[in-house]
Symmetry: C2
Subunit: 273 residues, 2 copies
């Protein structure tokens, strides 16, 4: 089985890649009702495959999610993990690093959250922030940031060689779409806690962020850790695409229930007392 | 609001407590269909309250689940967390301790998984194993185990004083019910990986385990970290009871969206560009 479903194949990053090649509002002509049906089917298949991955206990999946503010990372994670046994999924949200974390190389804190065998790890933001915000805001010397693309690919190969299937997704929405989402947050007091005036400052750096994303995507999309740039403006469509990616990844891995630790012939059910 | 809903009030442990006072197949006359409706309502309320807990970011919940094998810990956790944002829930499954963990006091590894503010932590097994299996199998000197009830209560008070609401649940099923569940596992090859002949050895120690549970329940059910012994033989009933406990705990905490970090008057939605 190849990872080439029409739902995500057009969004696979192969260098040279331009963000402008992706239509942020694309839905491939899908209707919302049909997407929901497909999504529900995918959910059942993912739950079944995840149980096998967990039982097998030999390999893991790492789903990296990156996006600008308000592109839907949280809601995508919520939707993707619904119906999946929470003991086999671990979501890590990477915030601004602590002093202790800054006292180490940038991958130190990330390594600690690499998914354990049998589980699916989801990164809400990730080590890519160290070549995105860090680059745009100048938090590290440019010569060091330049080296990090290689560090990242080396690190991801280490994980891949030890049984982790890596899939990386940028949820891609337009600057106008973000504006609309920010306005919605301001109109609803129960969403105020999600809004910070500092977010408007980041907005002013939109073009620099897009340039940093484009560089990162081109330099770190590998066969063992590919990037997909998913149109994110329609919630139901982005969720469908990411669920299809996760499903096909699991299908390709084809995890198996392990052989029993006992001889079933020696333990007929009726023999138990 | 008091935590005294009829669904769980009869199962609240107050010393002197006897396990024999609980009917493991109790359903309080509930019908499965009605339980499912109530369960769905609870799920929505829990999801809403959890979002507020997460937004508030000041307090946390710790749900401790203990049970003998095959009483339904995994399926209870799966059901309870369904529909809840996975970024605000962290499930920790405590297995046999590693050499590194054994090189510290028994609470060292547990402390590391105390729920962070804004989240719900769920322990699948816990520090209570250190006064259960450890006591029954003699893995630690009896005089040390004897001291641990106090260590546990001191530790739980530390967490409670720092904003963690602790709820502890023993899922209680009979020895015969376990036998039935083991037989079901042996009849279904896709469940073989869950079966281990060593589980039958533990079964022989059933009475010693029940005595250890009874001691632990009596000595560590406090006002800040109460125990509930929930009849677990009907999956739909045990799930309903635990969901009601979690819901009422969250309701009593009554988390609030934090005040905005900005003056809303200064940021009318239309002002954004």
């Amino acid at each position: 089985m190849q990872l080439d479903h029409p739902l995500y194949a057009p969004y696979h990053v192969t260098s040279p890649f331009k963000l402008a090649s992706i239509d942020t509002s694309d839905t491939q002509g899908w209707k919302k009702e049909d997407a929901k049906v497909k999504r529900a089917q995918n959910r059942e298949e993912i739950a079944e495959l995840q149980e096998r991955l967990y039982a097998e206990g030999k390999r893991s999946v790492l789903l990296v999610l990156q996006a600008m503010d308000a592109a839907g990372k949280d809601s995508t994670i919520e939707s993707i993990t619904r119906g999946v046994n929470p003991q086999g999924v671990h979501v890590t949200s990477f915030k601004a690093p602590s002093k202790e974390e800054l006292a180490h190389d940038f991958l130190w804190r990330v390594h600690d959250h690499a998914p354990r065998k049998g589980t699916i790890g989801i990164f809400n933001r990730s080590h890519y922030e160290d070549v995105l915000i860090v680059k745009v805001k100048g938090f590290a010397p440019p010569a060091l940031v330049e080296k990090r693309y290689g560090h990242i690919s080396d690190f991801e190969r280490l994980l891949a060689d030890h049984g982790t299937r890596i899939v990386k997704v940028m949820l891609y929405a337009s600057k106008d779409h973000q504006l609309e989402r920010f306005r919605q947050r301001l109109e609803e007091p129960s969403k105020w806690w999600k809004f910070n005036p500092a977010d408007l400052k980041e907005r002013e750096l939109w073009d620099q962020y897009m340039a940093a994303y484009e560089t990162a995507l081109n330099r770190t999309s590998t066969d063992y850790a590919p990037w997909y740039v998913v149109p994110a403006e329609k919630k139901w469509f982005r969720t469908l695409v990411v669920s299809q990616l996760l499903l096909d990844t699991l299908k390709q891995m084809n995890p198996k229930y392990p052989p029993p630790s006992f001889d079933p012939a020696e333990f007929p059910p009726d023999s138990l007392v």
